[in-house]
Symmetry: C2
Protein backbone atom coordinates (compact mmCIF):
# COMPACT_ATOMS: atom_id res chain seq x y z
CA UNK A 1 0.00 0.00 0.00
CA UNK A 2 0.96 3.64 -0.31
CA UNK A 3 -0.20 6.95 1.11
CA UNK A 4 -0.75 10.19 -0.74
CA UNK A 5 -0.89 13.60 0.91
CA UNK A 6 -2.29 16.52 -1.10
CA UNK A 7 -0.31 19.57 -0.02
CA UNK A 8 -0.25 23.29 -0.58
CA UNK A 9 2.09 25.57 1.31
CA UNK A 10 1.83 28.93 -0.39
CA UNK A 11 -0.57 31.23 1.45
CA UNK A 12 -2.15 28.14 3.00
CA UNK A 13 -4.88 28.13 5.65
CA UNK A 14 -6.21 31.58 4.91
CA UNK A 15 -8.98 31.08 7.47
CA UNK A 16 -6.28 31.29 10.13
CA UNK A 17 -5.17 34.72 8.96
CA UNK A 18 -6.97 36.50 11.80
CA UNK A 19 -4.59 34.87 14.28
CA UNK A 20 -1.47 34.05 12.24
CA UNK A 21 0.60 35.89 9.65
CA UNK A 22 1.21 34.37 6.21
CA UNK A 23 4.71 33.30 7.28
CA UNK A 24 3.41 31.70 10.46
CA UNK A 25 0.71 29.85 8.55
CA UNK A 26 3.25 28.55 6.05
CA UNK A 27 5.52 27.39 8.85
CA UNK A 28 2.56 25.78 10.59
CA UNK A 29 1.35 23.81 7.54
CA UNK A 30 4.88 22.60 6.96
CA UNK A 31 5.08 21.32 10.53
CA UNK A 32 1.66 19.66 10.23
CA UNK A 33 2.86 17.93 7.05
CA UNK A 34 5.96 16.71 8.90
CA UNK A 35 3.75 15.38 11.70
CA UNK A 36 1.55 13.48 9.24
CA UNK A 37 4.60 12.02 7.46
CA UNK A 38 6.08 10.98 10.82
CA UNK A 39 2.81 9.32 11.86
CA UNK A 40 2.62 7.39 8.59
CA UNK A 41 6.25 6.27 8.81
CA UNK A 42 5.71 5.25 12.42
CA UNK A 43 2.76 3.13 11.31
CA UNK A 44 4.99 1.31 8.83
CA UNK A 45 3.87 3.08 5.66
CA UNK A 46 6.97 3.18 3.48
CA UNK A 47 5.70 4.70 0.25
CA UNK A 48 4.50 8.23 0.76
CA UNK A 49 3.66 10.59 -2.08
CA UNK A 50 3.17 14.33 -1.70
CA UNK A 51 0.85 15.65 -4.36
CA UNK A 52 1.50 19.34 -4.78
CA UNK A 53 1.31 22.18 -7.26
CA UNK A 54 4.70 23.43 -6.16
CA UNK A 55 7.40 20.88 -5.46
CA UNK A 56 9.61 23.58 -3.97
CA UNK A 57 7.32 23.76 -0.97
CA UNK A 58 8.39 20.37 0.37
CA UNK A 59 11.59 19.96 2.35
CA UNK A 60 14.27 17.89 0.60
CA UNK A 61 14.87 15.70 3.62
CA UNK A 62 11.26 14.58 4.06
CA UNK A 63 11.97 11.07 2.72
CA UNK A 64 8.96 11.12 0.45
CA UNK A 65 8.24 11.21 -3.26
CA UNK A 66 7.02 14.58 -4.49
CA UNK A 67 4.58 14.57 -7.38
CA UNK A 68 3.97 17.92 -9.01
CA UNK A 69 0.57 18.43 -10.62
CA UNK A 70 -0.81 21.84 -11.45
CA UNK A 71 -4.37 20.57 -11.68
CA UNK A 72 -6.92 21.17 -8.96
CA UNK A 73 -7.27 18.73 -6.06
CA UNK A 74 -9.89 16.43 -7.61
CA UNK A 75 -8.42 15.99 -11.10
CA UNK A 76 -4.92 15.66 -9.62
CA UNK A 77 -6.04 12.94 -7.20
CA UNK A 78 -8.15 11.14 -9.79
CA UNK A 79 -5.30 11.06 -12.25
CA UNK A 80 -3.05 9.78 -9.41
CA UNK A 81 -5.56 7.03 -8.58
CA UNK A 82 -5.54 5.89 -12.22
CA UNK A 83 -1.79 5.43 -12.13
CA UNK A 84 -1.45 3.40 -8.92
CA UNK A 85 -1.98 -0.32 -8.77
CA UNK A 86 -2.13 -0.95 -5.03
CA UNK A 87 -4.11 0.15 -1.95
CA UNK A 88 -4.00 3.89 -1.34
CA UNK A 89 -4.58 5.98 1.74
CA UNK A 90 -5.48 9.56 0.87
CA UNK A 91 -4.70 11.60 3.95
CA UNK A 92 -4.94 15.36 4.28
CA UNK A 93 -1.95 17.38 5.45
CA UNK A 94 -3.86 19.25 8.15
CA UNK A 95 -4.35 16.31 10.50
CA UNK A 96 -1.62 16.74 13.11
CA UNK A 97 -3.58 14.89 15.80
CA UNK A 98 -3.64 11.58 13.94
CA UNK A 99 -1.66 8.79 15.57
CA UNK A 100 0.03 5.77 14.06
CA UNK A 101 -2.48 3.43 15.71
CA UNK A 102 -5.25 5.12 13.73
CA UNK A 103 -3.34 4.49 10.50
CA UNK A 104 -2.75 0.86 11.43
CA UNK A 105 -6.42 0.29 12.25
CA UNK A 106 -7.67 2.04 9.12
CA UNK A 107 -5.33 0.22 6.75
CA UNK A 108 -6.09 -3.19 8.27
CA UNK A 109 -9.85 -2.88 7.93
CA UNK A 110 -11.56 -5.74 6.08
CA UNK A 111 -13.75 -3.25 4.16
CA UNK A 112 -13.06 -2.13 0.58
CA UNK A 113 -13.06 1.50 1.62
CA UNK A 114 -12.53 3.26 4.95
CA UNK A 115 -13.62 6.84 5.31
CA UNK A 116 -12.72 9.24 8.11
CA UNK A 117 -15.19 12.13 8.17
CA UNK A 118 -13.92 15.64 8.79
CA UNK A 119 -15.76 18.29 10.74
CA UNK A 120 -18.57 19.96 8.80
CA UNK A 121 -19.11 17.16 6.31
CA UNK A 122 -15.62 16.90 4.85
CA UNK A 123 -13.41 13.87 4.25
CA UNK A 124 -10.16 13.63 6.20
CA UNK A 125 -8.96 10.22 5.05
CA UNK A 126 -9.97 7.71 2.43
CA UNK A 127 -8.44 4.26 2.34
CA UNK A 128 -9.14 2.62 -0.99
CA UNK A 129 -8.14 -1.00 -1.40
CA UNK A 130 -8.71 -1.09 -5.15
CA UNK A 131 -8.15 2.34 -6.69
CA UNK A 132 -9.07 0.96 -10.14
CA UNK A 133 -12.46 2.43 -11.06
CA UNK A 134 -12.63 4.61 -7.95
CA UNK A 135 -12.74 8.39 -8.04
CA UNK A 136 -12.90 11.17 -5.46
CA UNK A 137 -14.81 14.41 -5.21
CA UNK A 138 -13.57 16.69 -2.48
CA UNK A 139 -14.95 20.11 -1.43
CA UNK A 140 -18.49 20.73 -0.17
CA UNK A 141 -20.08 17.86 1.69
CA UNK A 142 -17.55 15.37 0.40
CA UNK A 143 -18.20 12.86 3.18
CA UNK A 144 -21.68 12.25 1.86
CA UNK A 145 -20.49 12.32 -1.76
CA UNK A 146 -17.82 9.71 -1.05
CA UNK A 147 -20.36 7.50 0.73
CA UNK A 148 -22.53 7.69 -2.38
CA UNK A 149 -19.61 6.89 -4.70
CA UNK A 150 -18.74 3.82 -2.61
CA UNK A 151 -22.38 2.77 -2.68
CA UNK A 152 -22.68 3.28 -6.45
CA UNK A 153 -19.61 1.13 -6.98
CA UNK A 154 -21.10 -1.59 -4.72
CA UNK A 155 -18.06 -1.63 -2.48
CA UNK A 156 -18.12 -2.22 1.27
CA UNK A 157 -17.33 0.67 3.57
CA UNK A 158 -16.32 1.41 7.12
CA UNK A 159 -16.71 4.84 8.74
CA UNK A 160 -13.82 5.27 11.16
CA UNK A 161 -14.80 7.04 14.37
CA UNK A 162 -12.02 9.09 15.95
CA UNK A 163 -12.04 12.60 17.34
CA UNK A 164 -8.32 12.99 16.70
CA UNK A 165 -8.54 11.80 13.10
CA UNK A 166 -11.67 13.85 12.39
CA UNK A 167 -10.12 17.08 13.62
CA UNK A 168 -8.76 18.91 10.60
CA UNK A 169 -7.21 22.27 11.35
CA UNK A 170 -8.80 25.12 9.43
CA UNK A 171 -10.05 27.79 11.81
CA UNK A 172 -8.77 29.59 14.90
CA UNK A 173 -10.93 27.50 17.22
CA UNK A 174 -9.30 24.34 15.85
CA UNK A 175 -5.96 25.51 17.22
CA UNK A 176 -7.25 24.77 20.73
CA UNK A 177 -7.39 21.10 19.78
CA UNK A 178 -3.78 21.29 18.56
CA UNK A 179 -2.79 22.87 21.88
CA UNK A 180 -4.57 20.25 23.93
CA UNK A 181 -4.15 17.10 21.88
CA UNK A 182 -1.21 17.87 19.55
CA UNK A 183 1.65 15.42 20.02
CA UNK A 184 4.04 16.56 17.32
CA UNK A 185 6.01 19.52 16.00
CA UNK A 186 2.89 21.51 15.12
CA UNK A 187 1.55 21.10 18.67
CA UNK A 188 4.82 22.43 20.05
CA UNK A 189 4.70 25.36 17.64
CA UNK A 190 1.14 26.35 18.54
CA UNK A 191 1.78 26.03 22.27
CA UNK A 192 4.83 28.28 21.88
CA UNK A 193 2.98 30.77 19.70
CA UNK A 194 -0.17 31.03 21.83
CA UNK A 195 1.28 30.26 25.26
CA UNK A 196 2.12 26.91 26.76
CA UNK A 197 -0.83 26.98 29.13
CA UNK A 198 -3.21 24.90 27.07
CA UNK A 199 -5.75 25.35 29.83
CA UNK A 200 -6.11 28.97 28.88
CA UNK A 201 -6.19 28.26 25.18
CA UNK A 202 -9.83 28.93 24.58
CA UNK A 203 -9.82 32.25 26.33
CA UNK A 204 -6.67 33.51 24.63
CA UNK A 205 -7.76 32.49 21.17
CA UNK A 206 -11.23 33.90 21.47
CA UNK A 207 -9.70 37.22 22.50
CA UNK A 208 -7.51 37.27 19.42
CA UNK A 209 -10.17 35.97 17.06
CA UNK B 1 -23.18 1.46 37.85
CA UNK B 2 -25.43 4.41 37.12
CA UNK B 3 -25.48 7.33 34.72
CA UNK B 4 -26.27 10.94 35.47
CA UNK B 5 -27.30 13.50 32.86
CA UNK B 6 -27.20 17.18 33.82
CA UNK B 7 -30.09 18.82 32.00
CA UNK B 8 -31.56 22.25 31.43
CA UNK B 9 -34.46 22.81 29.08
CA UNK B 10 -35.57 26.36 29.67
CA UNK B 11 -34.10 28.72 27.10
CA UNK B 12 -31.40 26.14 26.46
CA UNK B 13 -28.72 26.34 23.77
CA UNK B 14 -28.81 30.10 23.34
CA UNK B 15 -25.89 29.92 20.90
CA UNK B 16 -28.32 28.29 18.47
CA UNK B 17 -30.70 31.24 18.62
CA UNK B 18 -29.49 32.64 15.29
CA UNK B 19 -30.96 29.59 13.54
CA UNK B 20 -33.69 28.31 15.91
CA UNK B 21 -36.42 29.94 17.97
CA UNK B 22 -36.65 29.41 21.74
CA UNK B 23 -39.42 26.84 21.25
CA UNK B 24 -37.43 24.97 18.62
CA UNK B 25 -34.37 24.92 20.83
CA UNK B 26 -36.37 23.56 23.76
CA UNK B 27 -37.89 20.87 21.56
CA UNK B 28 -34.45 20.04 20.22
CA UNK B 29 -32.78 19.67 23.64
CA UNK B 30 -35.65 17.46 24.76
CA UNK B 31 -35.13 15.20 21.74
CA UNK B 32 -31.38 15.12 22.33
CA UNK B 33 -32.02 14.08 25.95
CA UNK B 34 -34.33 11.31 24.74
CA UNK B 35 -31.64 10.13 22.33
CA UNK B 36 -29.04 10.01 25.12
CA UNK B 37 -31.43 8.11 27.42
CA UNK B 38 -32.22 5.66 24.62
CA UNK B 39 -28.53 5.10 23.94
CA UNK B 40 -27.83 4.45 27.63
CA UNK B 41 -30.77 2.06 27.97
CA UNK B 42 -29.69 0.29 24.80
CA UNK B 43 -26.22 -0.17 26.31
CA UNK B 44 -27.78 -1.85 29.34
CA UNK B 45 -27.55 1.07 31.77
CA UNK B 46 -30.60 0.66 34.00
CA UNK B 47 -30.17 3.42 36.55
CA UNK B 48 -30.33 6.82 34.93
CA UNK B 49 -30.59 10.06 36.89
CA UNK B 50 -31.48 13.41 35.36
CA UNK B 51 -29.98 16.23 37.37
CA UNK B 52 -31.96 19.37 36.71
CA UNK B 53 -32.99 22.68 38.21
CA UNK B 54 -36.53 22.20 36.99
CA UNK B 55 -38.07 18.73 37.25
CA UNK B 56 -41.02 19.84 35.15
CA UNK B 57 -38.78 19.98 32.10
CA UNK B 58 -38.43 16.19 31.89
CA UNK B 59 -41.13 14.05 30.28
CA UNK B 60 -42.98 11.76 32.72
CA UNK B 61 -42.53 8.73 30.54
CA UNK B 62 -38.76 8.97 30.29
CA UNK B 63 -38.21 6.00 32.65
CA UNK B 64 -35.56 7.81 34.62
CA UNK B 65 -35.14 9.26 38.10
CA UNK B 66 -35.33 13.05 38.18
CA UNK B 67 -33.22 14.81 40.80
CA UNK B 68 -33.98 18.47 41.32
CA UNK B 69 -31.12 20.65 42.48
CA UNK B 70 -31.14 24.42 42.17
CA UNK B 71 -27.39 24.67 42.57
CA UNK B 72 -25.09 25.34 39.65
CA UNK B 73 -23.69 22.45 37.60
CA UNK B 74 -20.50 21.85 39.61
CA UNK B 75 -21.91 21.96 43.17
CA UNK B 76 -24.94 19.93 42.05
CA UNK B 77 -22.76 17.24 40.50
CA UNK B 78 -20.28 17.19 43.37
CA UNK B 79 -23.05 16.79 45.91
CA UNK B 80 -24.49 14.00 43.72
CA UNK B 81 -21.11 12.24 43.59
CA UNK B 82 -20.90 12.33 47.39
CA UNK B 83 -24.22 10.49 47.67
CA UNK B 84 -23.59 7.64 45.24
CA UNK B 85 -21.70 4.53 46.15
CA UNK B 86 -21.13 2.91 42.76
CA UNK B 87 -19.53 3.70 39.41
CA UNK B 88 -20.97 6.76 37.73
CA UNK B 89 -21.01 7.89 34.13
CA UNK B 90 -21.56 11.63 33.84
CA UNK B 91 -22.86 12.22 30.35
CA UNK B 92 -24.00 15.53 28.88
CA UNK B 93 -27.46 15.85 27.36
CA UNK B 94 -26.23 17.39 24.10
CA UNK B 95 -24.56 14.29 22.72
CA UNK B 96 -27.08 12.88 20.26
CA UNK B 97 -24.42 11.18 18.13
CA UNK B 98 -23.25 8.84 20.90
CA UNK B 99 -23.98 5.16 20.28
CA UNK B 100 -24.52 2.36 22.74
CA UNK B 101 -21.24 0.72 21.71
CA UNK B 102 -19.39 3.81 22.93
CA UNK B 103 -21.12 3.53 26.30
CA UNK B 104 -20.28 -0.19 26.52
CA UNK B 105 -16.62 0.43 25.70
CA UNK B 106 -16.28 3.36 28.09
CA UNK B 107 -17.91 1.62 31.03
CA UNK B 108 -15.88 -1.56 30.55
CA UNK B 109 -12.50 0.20 30.56
CA UNK B 110 -9.97 -1.15 33.08
CA UNK B 111 -8.99 2.44 34.03
CA UNK B 112 -10.24 4.25 37.14
CA UNK B 113 -11.51 7.13 35.07
CA UNK B 114 -12.46 7.47 31.41
CA UNK B 115 -12.75 10.92 29.93
CA UNK B 116 -14.30 11.86 26.60
CA UNK B 117 -13.09 15.31 25.54
CA UNK B 118 -15.53 17.74 23.98
CA UNK B 119 -14.69 20.18 21.23
CA UNK B 120 -12.82 23.26 22.40
CA UNK B 121 -11.43 21.73 25.59
CA UNK B 122 -14.65 20.65 27.26
CA UNK B 123 -15.60 17.33 28.87
CA UNK B 124 -18.42 15.36 27.27
CA UNK B 125 -18.34 12.25 29.45
CA UNK B 126 -16.62 11.20 32.64
CA UNK B 127 -16.77 7.63 33.83
CA UNK B 128 -15.72 7.44 37.45
CA UNK B 129 -15.33 4.00 38.99
CA UNK B 130 -14.98 5.24 42.56
CA UNK B 131 -16.84 8.52 43.02
CA UNK B 132 -15.69 8.67 46.67
CA UNK B 133 -13.16 11.51 46.92
CA UNK B 134 -13.61 12.56 43.29
CA UNK B 135 -14.90 15.95 42.23
CA UNK B 136 -15.64 17.68 38.95
CA UNK B 137 -15.04 21.16 37.63
CA UNK B 138 -16.89 21.90 34.41
CA UNK B 139 -16.80 25.10 32.32
CA UNK B 140 -13.69 26.59 30.71
CA UNK B 141 -11.05 24.10 29.72
CA UNK B 142 -12.54 21.35 31.83
CA UNK B 143 -10.85 18.54 29.90
CA UNK B 144 -7.47 19.69 31.14
CA UNK B 145 -8.81 20.38 34.64
CA UNK B 146 -10.28 16.90 34.89
CA UNK B 147 -7.01 15.35 33.69
CA UNK B 148 -5.23 17.25 36.48
CA UNK B 149 -7.79 16.16 39.09
CA UNK B 150 -7.33 12.50 38.08
CA UNK B 151 -3.59 12.96 38.23
CA UNK B 152 -3.70 14.64 41.65
CA UNK B 153 -5.79 11.76 42.99
CA UNK B 154 -3.29 9.24 41.55
CA UNK B 155 -5.95 7.44 39.61
CA UNK B 156 -5.46 5.81 36.22
CA UNK B 157 -7.13 7.38 33.21
CA UNK B 158 -8.13 6.61 29.67
CA UNK B 159 -8.95 9.29 27.08
CA UNK B 160 -11.65 7.87 24.82
CA UNK B 161 -11.20 8.83 21.18
CA UNK B 162 -14.46 9.13 19.23
CA UNK B 163 -15.64 11.83 16.85
CA UNK B 164 -19.29 10.98 17.56
CA UNK B 165 -18.84 11.09 21.33
CA UNK B 166 -16.74 14.26 21.23
CA UNK B 167 -19.29 16.16 19.18
CA UNK B 168 -21.41 18.19 21.60
CA UNK B 169 -24.04 20.34 19.94
CA UNK B 170 -23.74 24.02 20.82
CA UNK B 171 -23.43 26.13 17.70
CA UNK B 172 -25.09 26.31 14.29
CA UNK B 173 -22.18 24.57 12.57
CA UNK B 174 -22.61 21.58 14.92
CA UNK B 175 -26.07 20.97 13.47
CA UNK B 176 -24.40 19.76 10.28
CA UNK B 177 -22.96 16.86 12.27
CA UNK B 178 -26.45 16.07 13.59
CA UNK B 179 -27.77 16.09 10.02
CA UNK B 180 -25.02 13.83 8.74
CA UNK B 181 -24.37 11.51 11.65
CA UNK B 182 -27.52 11.79 13.81
CA UNK B 183 -29.24 8.45 14.26
CA UNK B 184 -32.05 9.38 16.64
CA UNK B 185 -35.03 11.67 17.14
CA UNK B 186 -32.92 14.82 17.19
CA UNK B 187 -31.33 13.89 13.87
CA UNK B 188 -34.75 13.44 12.33
CA UNK B 189 -35.87 16.78 13.76
CA UNK B 190 -32.88 18.69 12.38
CA UNK B 191 -33.14 17.06 8.97
CA UNK B 192 -36.81 18.03 8.85
CA UNK B 193 -36.15 21.54 10.07
CA UNK B 194 -33.23 22.32 7.79
CA UNK B 195 -34.04 20.08 4.84
CA UNK B 196 -33.53 16.36 4.47
CA UNK B 197 -30.69 16.75 2.00
CA UNK B 198 -27.80 16.44 4.40
CA UNK B 199 -25.50 16.97 1.45
CA UNK B 200 -26.58 20.59 1.29
CA UNK B 201 -26.46 21.07 5.03
CA UNK B 202 -23.38 23.20 5.21
CA UNK B 203 -24.51 25.59 2.54
CA UNK B 204 -28.01 26.04 3.96
CA UNK B 205 -26.81 26.58 7.47
CA UNK B 206 -24.14 29.05 6.57
CA UNK B 207 -26.73 31.09 4.69
CA UNK B 208 -29.00 31.19 7.72
CA UNK B 209 -26.20 31.75 10.20
Amino acid sequence: MRAVIPYKKENAKSRLSSVMTKDERETFVELMLKDVIHTLTDAGVQDIDILTTNAGGVADDAGVRVIEDDADLNPALNSYLKRVDESVLIIMADLPLVKSEHIRQITSSPSDVVIVPGKGGGTNMLFIKQPKGFYVKYYGSSFRTHCMIVNDLSRSMDVYDSFLASTDIDEPQDLIEVMLHGHGLSGEYIRQRFGSEAGNGRVQLSMID
